[in-house]
């Protein structure tokens, strides 16, 4: 399984162009092929889980050619990306039928995005990382504006401009590194940085690259695009964007760079933890004031990314474990919440909390899964969000930073408050503009949309078991990949 990890990139990339070629005549072909592809990717990613491999593209050895590196961290990210993308394509079949046209272009862009994310997670080459990042980003810009309404285009343009400025920053940083060390291989750059230390050009280059990825990960104060872009996309795409895109091309490269390439320093630790706290608090406070279902969820993405960066930024194994586990959990419950918002929109045609109400009786599956996801994200035991937040808070205390732990608890309480607003207005009570006549038509969504909701809700309910084993457990190998210092990463890729 591990000696053909290139399939994880090549399959979606090929299918992205194959589907529009043959799917023009038959309406069911894009659905079928899209789902088969993402399912095959999920199986492949499952086979790669916890494996180690280095793949030389075109047979050129490491410092000269492009390498794909599979280790504990990238295999964890691969599993998350492909699991959520399978759930999202399953959900898309019926959802797009009613609300959107042109499934061909949708699946084509979707698979391009998946190819970009799989590539970005696997690659061990700086310029290749930039290329995959741009593939995923350009597909996501187009998908955000997929409905072609005024708001969607506006959000897409905003996202496009901010995103490409960030990409240009990253490219500039990569160019500076190349001019300094005459290499693009990440492990080779780490080797040179270790030998010669940071001079002025390397500092400028690493700051440019880090800022670029801060924008891609939507950390406050670089978050302005996210609350517009994520709600404007079709619901399965919102689930992909919030669930995995900001992690695969934002958080993952940050973690990889901070630990394996640059090496974690006290300065970097304080930058990451303070960005984490700011994102966590501002995100949740902005979320409290929202009346649009998906916009509220988008602000929560910022807030939860704050938790992940806080955990990763602590620099201790326990903190990284909490951060990675929260990243895994967030992808489950946030994509579940976005899919739920999609099924609410599918039935009722609106996302405004004021106009909705009493859906608990009419849509039992949707409301139960939303309840489970809301409890997970607010950190109520025994759901998965509780365990990861607990680990992060314990890590803060262990690193003797009780102030950070206090902020994390406070953020969690405010999250609970804003999700009780969703339960109150959408499912149990009703909003002020609730229309009883229109509500009589509402009922549960079709079976194909219910399956992903149920699967993700079950995973949220029992997600805590993945923590068993701690640093030796399923998440632990990802932690291992980060905490072992850059020498191990260098020797793994370059063999020196």
């Amino acid at each position: 399984m591990t000696n053909n990890i290139i399939t994880l990139v090549a399959l979606p990339l090929g299918m992205a162009f194959f589907i529009p070629m043959i799917g023009r005549k038959l309406r069911w072909v894009p659905d079928l092929l899209g789902n088969i592809t993402t399912f095959a990717l999920l199986v492949l990613a499952g086979g790669c889980f916890q494996q180690q491999a280095v793949y030389n593209l075109g047979g050129w050895p490491a410092p000269l050619g492009i390498v794909l590196v599979l280790d504990g961290l990238s295999s964890l990210l691969l599993l998350i990306v492909n699991l959520i993308s399978f759930m999202a394509t399953l959900f898309s079949v019926q959802y797009l039928e009613k609300l959107y046209t042109s499934k061909l272009r949708y699946y084509s862009l979707f698979l391009l995005m998946v190819a970009g994310m799989n590539g970005a997670v696997l690659t061990g080459d700086f310029f290749n990382l930039f290329v995959f990042l741009e593939i995923a980003s350009i597909a996501s810009y187009a998908l955000v504006g997929f409905g072609c309404e005024a708001e969607e285009l506006e959000a897409s343009f905003k996202y496009l401009v901010i995103g490409s400025v960030a990409s240009t920053f990253i490219l500039f940083g990569v160019a500076l590194f190349y001019s300094q060390f005459a290499t693009l291989n990440m492990a080779d750059i780490a080797f040179h940085l270790k030998q010669s230390g940071f001079d002025q050009i390397s500092i400028v280059a690493s700051v440019l690259i880090l800022v670029g990825f801060f924008v891609k990960a939507a950390l406050v104060p670089f978050h302005a695009w996210l609350p517009d872009a994520h709600p404007s996309a079709p619901a399965p795409i919102s689930a992909m964007l919030s669930g995995v895109l900001i992690k695969a091309i934002g958080i993952y490269p940050l973690a990889r760079l901070a630990y394996n390439i640059f090496g974690i320093t006290p300065l970097l630790i304080s930058v990451l933890t303070s960005l984490g706290i700011i994102s966590m608090m501002i995100g949740v406070l902005m979320a409290l004031a929202q009346w649009d279902f998906k916009r509220l969820l988008a602000y929560h993405s910022i807030s939860q990314m704050g938790y992940v960066i806080l955990g990763l930024g602590l620099g201790t194994p326990l903190g990284i474990l909490g951060g990675l586990f929260h990243l895994f959990n967030h992808s489950l419950f946030k994509s579940l919440l976005f899919l739920d918002s999609g099924s609410v929109e599918y039935e009722t045609g609106t996302r405004q909390l004021e106009k909705l109400g009493q859906l608990a009786k009419k849509m039992p599956v949707t409301s139960t899964s939303t309840l489970i996801a809301s409890l997970s994200i607010s950190g109520i035991p025994p759901f998965n969000g509780f365990w990861s937040k607990l680990v992060i808070i314990m890590a803060c205390l262990q690193a003797s930073r009780p102030g950070l732990a206090l902020w994390a608890v406070l953020g969690s309480i405010l999250t609970l408050a804003s999700f009780s607003k969703i339960q109150r207005y959408i499912f149990l009570g009703q909003g002020q503009e609730f229309d009883l006549e229109a509500a009589k038509q509402w009922h549960e969504v079709p079976l194909l949309m219910r399956i992903p909701l149920l699967v993700l809700a079950t995973l949220c309910l029992f997600g805590g078991i993945f923590l068993i084993g701690g640093l030796q457990g399923p998440i632990g190998s990802g932690v291992q990949a980060l905490v072992e210092n850059s020498t191990v990463y260098i020797s793994k890729v370059l063999g020196r």
Binding site: G145, A150, L160, V161, V165, A175
Partner: protein
């Protein structure tokens, strides 16, 4: 010196993106930024009086190594120009659609999303 000029060009582009109100000017700023980076990349492989990095049967390897320019940045620049083209065309397409919806290129009048 010439690298500093590249950086100034980059900053001009950044100024265009961040401070201008007109969508077309924002797009131009974006393009200037990309070109500044491309210029920087190609300059990093340049050497004075260099020869093209092509090896044939008559090539003397010693003079080749001491005189040839670095071919890798040229490959990188080609890739990044193509990516830039993709972004530019998407940006222009969205700008045209936005003009159809709003009847203006002024971003201060596109304010349906807030909060």
């Amino acid at each position: 010196m010439i690298y500093a000029l590249c950086f100034i060009l980059f900053l001009i582009g950044l100024y265009g993106v961040t401070c201008k109100k007109n969508i077309v000017k924002i797009i131009l700023g974006m393009v200037i930024m990309e070109y500044a980076v491309n210029l920087f990349l190609i300059l990093s492989g340049w050497r004075k009086g260099g020869q093209p990095p092509i090896i044939d049967s008559q090539t003397n390897m010693e003079t080749f190594v001491s005189r040839a320019v670095d071919p890798l940045p040229q490959a990188l620049v080609l890739t990044s120009i193509v990516i830039g083209l993709g972004i530019l065309s998407l940006m222009v397409a969205i700008a045209i659609r936005l003009y159809e919806r709003y009847g203006t290129f002024d971003i201060t009048e596109m304010r349906r999303l807030k909060g």
